[in-house]
């Protein structure tokens, strides 16, 4: 066999290897989801969703965790959305290229890489202790809002950047001020992209466990929170707690709760992708 044919063979082998690698992750994910569905699907019924936690695996439900996650989701959105979008607008439209703006950029890029558990430590000291919020939904939401802030900022900036320059020029040429241009032209035009980024960031927040454990969110909470200052648990913590228990019944519960959590995560991702496609078409 000469070299050229050997090279061709190697090329074909790599092609096969490449396909195998590409499918590997997806196949593993499919196996995993399949095994979880087998374990947990039978456990899901209305009672499971509406029951309070219990020491008894058969009676335990995810009601408080689900409510906790919804509270967290809503409050995190309220806190991070205005902050993130405002910061992105500043960086994209207002800030001049100088030392200060490059410090801001480096800083945001670094924050995006800080492990989530470190945000937990930050939240524990600042929100739980110094601001005396305790291990409340509010403290948890502030912590997660800071965690997803860099993601919201980066994706918002990209969406604003994608708006054609001609729209800015047209607006300024008509005598619009900077803020009028931003609020009446740029934000509406980039809305779809911003929405996509925000939903993806929130879907990450829904799945976060570690920072909330660190700020002291409890595994066992007998009631759903009724105000931002109440203590809480969330779905991932509930799952973690059930995984940690030795009795087999809780493993089934964990699988069932994972199905619920994955459902929420995938639906959010699906919505995000839907908005992104719609927006990209519109932008063209």
């Amino acid at each position: 066999m000469n070299n050229i044919r050997k090279n061709r063979l190697k090329d074909q082998i790599f092609r096969g290897w490449g396909i195998a690698c590409t499918l590997l992750g997806l196949v593993l994910l499919a196996i995993f989801i399949g095994s979880i569905l087998i374990d947990g699907l039978q456990r899901i019924d209305w009672d499971f969703i509406t029951s309070l936690p219990s020491r008894n695996a058969e009676n335990a439900g995810i009601y408080t965790a689900l409510m906790g996650s919804i509270w967290i989701l809503v409050l995190t959105t309220i806190i991070s959305l205005p902050l993130g979008i405002a910061a992105a607008i500043y960086l994209e439209e207002y800030s001049k290229k100088n030392r200060f703006s490059s410090i801001l950029e480096v800083n945001i890029s670094n924050l995006a890489g800080v492990p989530s558990i470190i945000y937990g430590l930050l939240g524990l000291e600042i929100f739980v202790r110094i601001l005396e919020m305790g291990a409340s939904v509010l403290a948890g939401s502030f912590t997660l809002a800071l965690l997803i802030l860099p993601i919201v900022i980066v994706s918002t900036r990209e969406s604003i950047k994608a708006v054609p320059k001609s729209i800015r020029d047209a607006s300024y040429a008509l005598g619009a001020s900077k803020w009028q241009t931003v609020s009446m032209q740029l934000l509406p035009a980039s809305f779809g992209g911003i929405l996509t980024g925000v939903i993806l960031a929130l879907s990450r927040a829904v799945g976060e466990t570690a920072p909330l454990i660190v700020i002291g969110a409890l595994a066992y909470v007998p009631f759903a929170p009724s105000s931002p200052m109440d203590e809480f648990t969330v779905m991932p913590i509930q799952i973690f707690n059930w995984i940690s228990r030795p009795q087999a019944g809780f493993e089934v519960n964990a699988a069932a709760a994972i199905i619920m959590l994955l459902l929420i995560t995938f639906i959010m991702n699906g919505i995000a992708v839907y908005f992104r496609n719609k927006w990209q078409k519109k932008l063209k």
């Binding site: 095994s35 500043y90 890029s109 924050l111 800080v114």
Partner: protein, 292 residues
Amino acid sequence: MRKFKEAIIEKSLLASALVTILVTLGIILVLSFEAVNFFREVPIIDFLTDTQWTPLFSDKHFGILPLLSGTLLTSFIAIAFAVPVGLSISIYISEYAPKSFRRTIKPALELLAAVPTVVYGFFALTVVTPFLQTFIPGLSGFNSLSAGLVMGIMIIPFVSSLSEDALHAVPNSLREAAYGMGSTKLQNSFRVLVPAASSGIIVSIILAISRAIGETMIVAIAAGQQPRLTFDPTVPVETITTYIVQVSLGDVQHGSLEYRTIFAAGITLFIFTFLLNTISYRIRKKFQEKYE
């Protein structure tokens, strides 16, 4: 009047941007404040050289090495798995696969990164570990091998997506030159495109490492909670992140030495990821200039 309103708006937008600086300062201050208190009681030499970590026992030792080795071991396994696979995926998608396949497979792979990590932990503990035990008889129920591999699955998209972007950005003229000389796709990929895209690929790998080092739930669930200075992948270990979770789940008094240990552990973690992120940011900036 309009000018005044514009100025107010600009200032409040600026204030929002400054929040990000406050967050960084907050992290650094909180970590160092508690860590300084910690090092008042525990000599930094002991922290760095003691080979035992037993702050919750009566015979207390505060050596970070066992936690560090646990973190590095699980991360190493994850990276050793994710980098070859992720890089192969990126080359396959960018150079071999039809364009339509590329459009569907990229978002599908990114779904792997969207799965909550607590879910991966469950997968490692209940599926991967029992599976590995069938042909590694001595494998403990909690081990770094299974946790590391599953963490590898999670970070595949970090490597594949960013590397693919970098390969995609290599000018087509180089591809043509290589094909024109009679290169196969494989030769073109490894001799021309990967070297040309190396900075982007390195950035993707550094980010993946940083991600693995900071990952918490997978290792907390599947790698165990026993600080142990070892590089044996079959036994339980404890990572820095797991330790922080372990203490947080317990009932530790605020202001106690045990409470401060999690900040000492946290600052160690922060320094590592900060260095990695800074390096990757530098490379990325240089890389952007190269193509602009």
